[in-house]
């Protein structure tokens, strides 16, 4: 009898499982936006604020404007835990929801981005990897569906070296200096290496790259090497718990924190706060500004948090990754707005939204209207350039908050473009893809 009961339970489980696969029906005048998030697992401290900013911006647009030109935005989260296979599953689960399917997808992990780049052309959903992902995807002729907006890791590497040259007083002063890259041992961490190597050849600095195995809580050996090698500068390409561990280890081996520079994913509050005073003077790249003194953040506070509808805690609003979530999804929604001007003010397909993102032109006036003044630099996307021009500032942690210590630095397109085109051409050849002709209107 005990066995029969087990079997009955199993059958019940299977039946319940099958109903779970059938989703509820969707209403009509809605634009669906999937959100791949990670609120659990080793990267949760960084994933959660991003996800909150992402969702809050969408809800704020609905509350303040009633959607985009009357089309209500609907968002659904799916937990990936930063795992590539779960991310792909989430994408497949969410891509067809809403009356027109997903408008765009933010994969939020380099591994998932790489996997979705392969799926985007068949599913016809634009992949927006804002400030991460595959660097050569900036070539929109080979990667029509991928938008590494704001900046790729190759741009980030170039901007960091540019900043060092600025502070030293010229590129010739870099000669003989030693730069060590401490990187997350994954495609994410490896992306900047070719550019840093190339720049080392041009400007004569010594370059060394030290991998840290994910998730990065064990770095004693790495920092022992740094203590012995005595580099002049350390670049940090970490994510999640790896960042705070690196800063703590730097403090332990007494490597000056003001000569450490993180990428924009290594410069948020969860990275520096655990290291306490040890983090003072640590620098990182910043794609956008922090804080709540911007129009859009004030709107979020007014329309959501004053009514108790916010996703985060009120004091977390305005943090680096929270604002990154706001900015990232805002770029996609702006793409929807552009596409609506051409295709009509109704729910759009991923294909139509792709056109909108490709024709995105954020002028300073438009940025003011959106309430992003001072938060974001202008950007213009085109068929050739899917990055939209890469600009970033350097920020420094002073124990309480981030302060900018440089003005906007623009990545050197003349240096990077040949790299992008060579790598994209190699990809096109491996996958036998023909490049798009950008002179034709698309």
């Amino acid at each position: 009898m005990r066995f029969t009961r087990t079997l009955a339970l199993a059958a019940l489980g299977a039946a319940v499982g099958l109903t779970g696969l059938v989703g509820p029906a969707a209403a009509q005048n809605e634009q669906f936006i999937p959100a791949l998030v990670y609120r659990t697992g080793p990267y949760a401290p960084n994933g959660a604020p991003f996800a909150n900013g992402f969702v809050d911006y969408i809800n704020m647009i609905n509350e303040r404007d009633g959607g985009v030109n009357g089309v209500k935005l609907v968002v659904e989260e799916c937990e990936t835990g930063y795992a590539t296979d779960r991310g792909v599953e989430c994408f497949d689960r969410l891509k067809g929801k809403g009356p027109t399917g997903a408008a765009f997808i933010h994969p939020l992990s380099t591994g998932i981005t790489f996997a979705l780049i392969e799926k985007a052309p068949t599913d016809k959903i634009p992949v927006m990897s804002v400030g991460y992902g595959r660097s050569e995807a900036a070539d929109g002729r080979i990667f029509p569906w991928v938008f590494p907006l704001l900046g790729t890791y190759w741009s980030a590497a170039d901007i960091l070296v540019h900043h060092l040259a600025n502070t030293l007083g010229g590129y010739d002063k870099l000669k003989g200096k030693k730069i060590t890259l401490v990187f997350h041992d994954s495609p994410y961490g490896k992306e900047p290496i070719p550019i840093l190597q190339e720049l080392a050849k041009r400007h004569g600095y010594v370059f060394e790259a030290l991998p840290v195995t994910a998730p990065g809580v064990e770095q004693k050996a790495t920092w022992l090497q740094i203590r012995q090698g005595r580099p002049d500068y350390v670049f940090l390409w970490g994510w999640g718990v790896m960042n705070s561990t690196s800063i703590k280890e730097a403090a332990a081996v007494n490597f000056p924190r003001n000569r450490m520079y993180g990428v924009w994913w290594s410069g948020a509050e969860p990275d520096v706060v655990p290291a306490e005073a040890g983090a003072n003077g640590y620098n990182s790249l910043a794609l956008h500004a922090t804080g709540t003194s911007y129009g859009v953040v004030r709107d979020v506070l007014k329309h959501l948090y004053d009514k108790g509808k916010g996703a985060a805690k009120r004091e977390e609003v305005g943090q680096v990754l929270y604002n990154r979530g706001l900015v990232s999804v805002a770029l996609g929604i702006e793409g929807i707005r552009v596409a609506q001007e051409r295709f009509g003010k109704k729910p759009l397909t991923g294909e139509q939204v792709r056109w909108g993102i490709e024709n995105l032109n954020l002028t300073p006036e438009r940025i003011n209207q959106m309430g992003f003044e001072g938060l974001l630099a202008p950007l213009k996307v085109s068929c050739l350039d899917h990055e939209g021009g890469s600009r970033a500032r350097i920020q420094q942690w002073d124990g309480k908050g981030w302060k900018f210590i440089s003005d906007w630095i623009t990545a050197d397109d003349k240096l990077l473009r040949p790299f992008v085109e060579t790598a994209a051409a190699k990809y096109a050849q491996e996958k036998s893809i023909a490049a798009r002709d950008c002179s034709k209107p698309g």
Binding site: T6, L21, T40, A44, T84, D85, T110, I117
Partner: protein, 354 residues
């Protein structure tokens, strides 16, 4: 009642030795195959095909490979993820370095490469057993992981170390649709599962089981441990290697070494243990359990409209899934396949149990 065998007479040795001696089993299997080959591609959604059925089939194949080693030959291994990676990277390198090679040939070559690597790492099994062997195979896992992220030739010098599979072209056809990829996987898995089932029933399989049950006794009755153990490692690695190639080419399309990390080895070992050691059916049941149950648990609250935060759902998923594993292992330590076998026994006697 369903399994009443009255009237089924076995009049020849061949009938007595058949893979499925009971008529109902043969009918059920034929029905499953017909549904899987014809009804499923026509009726199911892309989500079901790409996110559930394709990974389920590929992981079942890998579990069959591991089960040959662990369940049939008794050699415990924690290097399955690494061997899947060998299959994936070998298939990639054959595909891009040898122009015009058909992908099916690439998959077979990938399996053979994995078999060679698996045999190499199986050599310590001639001297060590049990936990010690597990640790030795764990070393294989880490070594393979390390080489695929460090030796840049394997990844064709891509800057990030992440690879994209070349387009799926089999016998001149380019496969792009989910149902096409599903049918390709299904065909390969069915052929290889039939192969495994027959291998384990024959002379080689019996020598593996003899080694598993008591190696000294097996040696005394004339089974050579060297050949038996190494052939188990080779065959097992072949299956795992093909599964790895399929995982990379058909399922992911783009991958990095993390896709084949130690967690993959563990989850495959769990599939084999929960599904049932020494059972081909168990591999499918185990793979289904480990892969599908978390996905279902993750979607249940949303489907029923229960407002829970994403983090809460995800934590609940882990908790419930963990308790289910414990529950099943306590109810039947010999796995889901054994549960099915018990059910079959009871059904054969029903309604007159004794």
């Amino acid at each position: 009642m369903l399994y009443r065998e009255a009237g089924q007479f076995k009049t020849s040795y061949a009938a007595d030795q058949a893979v499925f001696p009971i008529l109902q089993d043969r009918l059920a299997l034929a029905l499953v195959l017909v549904v899987a080959f014809f009804a499923v591609p026509l009726l199911s959604t892309d989500y079901l095909l790409t996110s559930i059925l394709i990974p389920f089939l590929i992981l079942s194949l890998a579990a069959i490979g591991l089960n040959i080693l662990v369940g049939y030959c008794g050699q415990i291994s924690l290097g399955t993820g690494g061997l899947m990676a060998v299959g994936a990277y070998a298939a990639y390198n054959f595909a891009i370095r040898v122009p015009g090679l058909d992908l099916l040939v690439c998959f077979v070559l990938a399996g053979l490469t994995a078999a060679a690597v698996g045999m190499f790492f199986g050599v310590p099994s001639l001297r060590i057993k049990g936990f010690y062997l597990a640790v030795a195979t764990l070393a294989a896992q880490f070594f393979l992981d390390w080489s695929f992220s460090r030796i840049r030739w394997f990844t064709n010098y891509t800057p990030s170390g992440s690879l994209a599979a070349p387009p799926l072209e089999i016998l001149g056809f380019r496969i792009t649709t989910p149902s096409g990829r599903y049918l390709l996987t299904l065909a390969i898995v069915v052929v290889m599962a039939a192969l495994a089932k027959n291998l384990t029933r024959g002379r080689i399989g019996r020598s593996w089981m003899a080694i598993r049950d008591m190696d000294i006794a097996a040696e005394i009755i004339g089974i050579r441990p060297l050949q038996a153990k190494l052939s188990a490692f080779a065959v097992s690695s072949f299956f795992v290697g093909v599964a790895g190639a399929l995982w990379a080419f058909v399922h992911l399309g783009s991958w990095e070494p993390a896709a084949f990390d130690i967690n993959r080895s563990f989850s495959l070992l769990f599939m084999v243990i929960i599904g049932g050691l020494g059972s081909i059916l168990g591999c499918f049941l185990g793979a289904g359990f480990i892969l599908v149950v978390p996905l279902v648990l993750n979607q249940l609250p949303t489907a029923f409209g229960i407002p829970l935060s994403t983090a809460m759902i995800s934590n609940l998923e882990n908790m419930i899934f963990g308790s289910l594993i414990i529950f099943f292992l306590i109810t039947e330590p010999r796995g889901l396949a054994r549960l099915w076998a018990i059910a079959k026994e009871k059904l054969r006697l029903w309604p007159f149990p004794h």
